[in-house]
């Protein structure tokens, strides 16, 4: 579904300097239903890769394909219906309820005046039920616990109904129980809805437990290494860290 072809990931400092390449992807392809953990040391370029896919940073070179269509040829509208994003930390907004937050995920599908169709309402209700958020529906997002808020943000991404969901360190600010809970939800979603899910994480043990694929960034060789189940922890750690 998503294919990296010799992507050069990095950034340009100023206009005259040469771009700094962090790593090259090689040839990698991901299928619907894959739950992929992106691992690597701090500064290795996990966030830069995500930013590149999300169009916040230009692609230095190489090609990114979605269903064999060049990513660059997709319009903004097509992209927001294809990929959704969950930041590692969302602080909540006063007076914004959980239900309203999840309904925001329908924005790319609703019309200019944001009038919801029957389907939009159904999707929001379904997501809330799936994530067990119905009891929090009218609760202010500012006053949720970190775990509840992270799950609500995942709900927003699910309501967006994109084929790809990217989560930047979704477990970074959560306690042990909530980490497991979030990853379990994502694993279930990937399998059931056949969505492609990327997370970046430093919780290696949990990634090995829940993800079906781990992609590491090898800083020395400046390349990406693909690992499949069953994961050999020692090998992966010695190669990446």
């Amino acid at each position: 579904m998503l294919r990296f072809s010799q992507l050069n990931i990095g950034f340009t400092k100023g206009q005259r300097q040469d771009p700094k390449v962090l790593f090259t992807s090689g040839e990698l392809s991901f299928q619907a239903g894959d739950f992929v953990a992106l691992i690597g040391p701090n500064g290795s370029g996990k966030t830069t890769l995500f930013n590149t896919i999300l169009d916040h940073q230009p692609l230095l070179s190489g090609n990114l394909f979605f269903n064999e269509k060049d990513w660059k040829t997709l319009s903004r509208k097509e992209k927001v219906k294809t990929v959704s994003f969950v930041p590692s930390k969302f602080n909540g907004v006063q007076h914004l309820s959980v239900k309203e937050l999840i309904a925001m995920g329908r924005a790319p599908h609703a019309n200019l005046l944001n009038q919801f169709s029957q389907k939009d309402h159904q999707v929001v209700a379904k997501v809330m039920e799936e994530l067990d958020l119905t009891q929090f529906a009218e609760k202010d997002t500012l006053y949720l616990s970190d775990g509840e808020r992270q799950i609500a943000m995942i709900g927003k991404a699910l309501a967006q109904e994109t084929r790809i969901i990217i989560l930047d360190e979704p477990t970074a600010f959560l306690d042990y129980n909530n980490r497991r809970k979030v990853l379990k939800i994502l694993q279930k979603v990937a399998r059931k809805n056949k969505q492609l899910i990327f997370i970046s994480s430093h919780d290696l043990e949990l990634c090995f437990e829940y993800c079906n694929r781990v992609v590491g960034i090898d800083q020395k060789q400046k390349e990406m290494c693909d690992f499949f189940e069953p994961f050999h922890k020692e090998d992966i750690i010695s190669k990446i860290f």
Binding site: L54, H56, R76, K77, V80, V83, S84, F85, P87, F90, V93, Q94, H95, L96, K99, E100, M104, G105, A107, P108, A110, L112, L113, N114, E138, Q160
Partner: protein, 332 residues
């Protein structure tokens, strides 16, 4: 959700009824009292002989309509600025957008460079000034990430245009200077009956445009990045918001002078009353709340006028400054 929406409408309904009653009361006030039944007569008949009815149409009706429009547009531009910059202390006055409009008005009324003799010319100049100031603030916001620092940039922008206005004043003709000084106190009485349509037209245009961008406004509260990943074209919407703010602020500033604090205070109170982030209801609330505040100011001024001539700008600052202090203590 349905019941919630109903409660927002109930609040708007209450504000509307309150506004209507105060508008009617305000119409009876002036240099001499007019009974309420004559107010209705004056509004719906056009008998040129009755003094009361004539006064009503020529002086009071324009004054009260101007109060309603000035309040509505200024508080709406405050709401737009607060959402754009994600800053509860933003507003057209503190960000220097009013000052941009004032500078252009000063140039048009006091210098020979700008011969904007007509009303439309003056409004055009004010909107242009507000738009340029808005773009400058927008540009600085890309570099100045700290919320309080951005306000300082706005204040600097205000001082800078203030200094330029001083230079213009130093060379101005005494008559023009006096006219400009009176304008800068802020007044609701400078709009004549046959000018009302201009004010109404621009205000309506601004309000309709705002209602059309409610969806991106609602998404912007999640921050620029999240909004853009939900399909909002950030660069485009920023310029659109600044443009609408310029129209709303510019047209009122051209006629009524630089009115402070309304744009800052009203949206904060409305958010407190409505407890929502849905801009559809916030926009309606700000229109009603802003109108209400200026109509109340006008009533106070009319009631005090036998003893004390209070300029509008002094009154809004007297009410506004303490409220702003209270917001700072609560939120920062």
């Amino acid at each position: 959700m349905k019941t919630l929406n109903k409660s927002y409408w109930r609040r708007s309904g209450l504000l509307f009824i309150l506004l209507l009653l105060l508008v009617l009361y305000d119409l009876t006030l002036g240099s001499f009292p007019i009974a309420l039944k004559d107010v209705f007569k004056g509004l719906f008949s056009t008998n040129p002989d009755a003094t009361a009815e004539l006064t009503l149409r020529v002086f009071r009706f324009p004054r009260v309509v101007t109060a309603v429009i000035a309040g509505a547009t200024l508080s709406l531009s405050g709401l737009l600025m607060q959402t754009l910059f994600q800053n509860p202390l933003a507003g057209p006055y503190v960000l220097g957008i009013n000052s941009g409009a004032s500078l252009m008005v000063a140039l048009s009324t006091m210098s020979s460079f700008f011969l904007f003799g007509s009303d439309l010319g003056l409004i055009g100049a004010a909107i242009l000034g507000a738009f340029i100031a808005g773009l400058l603030i927008l540009l600085s916001s890309l570099y100045v990430k700290n919320k309080v620092s951005l306000l300082l940039v706005g204040i600097m922008l205000g001082s800078f245009s203030g200094a330029l206005i001083n230079v213009v004043q130093a060379y101005a003709d005494p008559n023009n200077l006096k006219q400009f000084m009176l304008w800068s106190f802020g007044s609701l009485q400078s709009v004549e009956y046959n000018q009302l349509w201009i004010l109404t037209l621009f205000a309506t245009a601004g309000i309709v445009l705002t209602l059309l961008i409610v969806k991106p406004l609602n998404l912007l509260i999640l921050g620029d990045r999240n909004a853009s990943l939900l399909g909002v074209n950030i660069k485009q919407i920023r310029v659109v918001i600044v443009l609408i703010t310029a129209v709303l602020t510019g047209v009122v500033t051209a006629f009524c002078g630089p009115i402070a604090f309304v744009g800052l205070v009203v949206p904060n109170i409305i958010k407190l009353i409505y407890k929502t982030t849905n801009h559809y209801h916030l926009v309606i609330g700000c229109i009603l709340g802003g109108a209400l505040l200026i109509v109340v100011c006008d009533i106070v001024m009319q009631l005090l006028s036998p003893f004390l001539n209070l300029p509008l700008n002094a009154l809004t600052a007297l009410i506004g400054a303490p409220i702003v202090l209270w917001i700072i203590i609560r939120k920062f």
